[in-house]
């Protein structure tokens, strides 16, 4: 079956623009994670959903970042008034079970955001 997909794969935005990044998890997966990865660094956790519930958003760097998963499947990460420091690869991952399970995470290819 299809894996986790993300769109767009590449996004160039001018400073101050709003962007929306989409994640299509594997069908039926309960958990969904968003990460931000700067060049040469490990992925930094942003937020976590269990179905449609956002259980952890402690990693969102500012109130300009907003994520939703309204129907418990597709998720969107929105960044308002983008800044140059938002330039990074944004990774999405899903897993079959909810939090606390010993679960394999399946990652998408990421969206590379460049803010000029």
């Amino acid at each position: 079956g299809a894996g986790v997909s993300q769109s767009p794969r590449y996004k160039v935005a001018k400073r101050g623009q709003d962007v929306a990044l989409r994640c299509d998890p594997i069908s039926g997966h309960v958990s969904l994670f968003w990460y931000q990865q700067a060049l040469g660094q490990g992925p930094e956790f942003l937020t976590y959903f269990q179905n449609e519930a956002q259980l952890d958003k402690s990693g969102l760097p500012s109130d300009r970042f907003f994520a939703e998963r309204p129907e418990g499947s597709v998720s969107t990460l929105k960044i308002q008034r983008t800044q140059q420091e938002d330039s990074a690869v944004y990774l999405c991952a899903s897993s079959p079970k909810g939090a606390g399970g010993s679960d394999t995470q399946y990652f998408g290819p990421g969206t590379r955001l460049t803010v000029l």
């Binding site: 986790v4 994670f33 990460y35 660094q41 490990g42 992925p43 930094e44 956790f45 976590y48 990774l91 991952a93 897993s95 939090a99 606390g100 399970g101 010993s102 679960d103 394999t104 995470q105 399946y106 990652f107 998408g108 290819p109 990421g110």
Partner: protein, 107 residues
Amino acid sequence: SQQGEEDPQALSIQEGENATMNCSYKTSINNLQWYRQNSGRGLVHLILIRSNEREKHSGRLRVTLDTSKKSSSLLITASRAADTASYFCAINNDMRFGAGTRLTVKP
């Protein structure tokens, strides 16, 4: 939540040699997972080891876990150029990552 810390930060070896990288953590765990990331790609799950396991194999990969030392190691035997990637560990299901070990395998 907690995260594992990988070391070394970078490792360069010749094709055919073995590569060992380590992950240390600070509190008790239920399981530990290793992931690989090729340049420009998402992470790929390699192996999961539970707290009651000491060693696990998957092909050319061997993972050990020492809960008394709060550390795990990933051994890649007979390395290939295609093993060139960054390797990360994740603790339990928290999915907080360290900076990873950047492995370069020279042909």
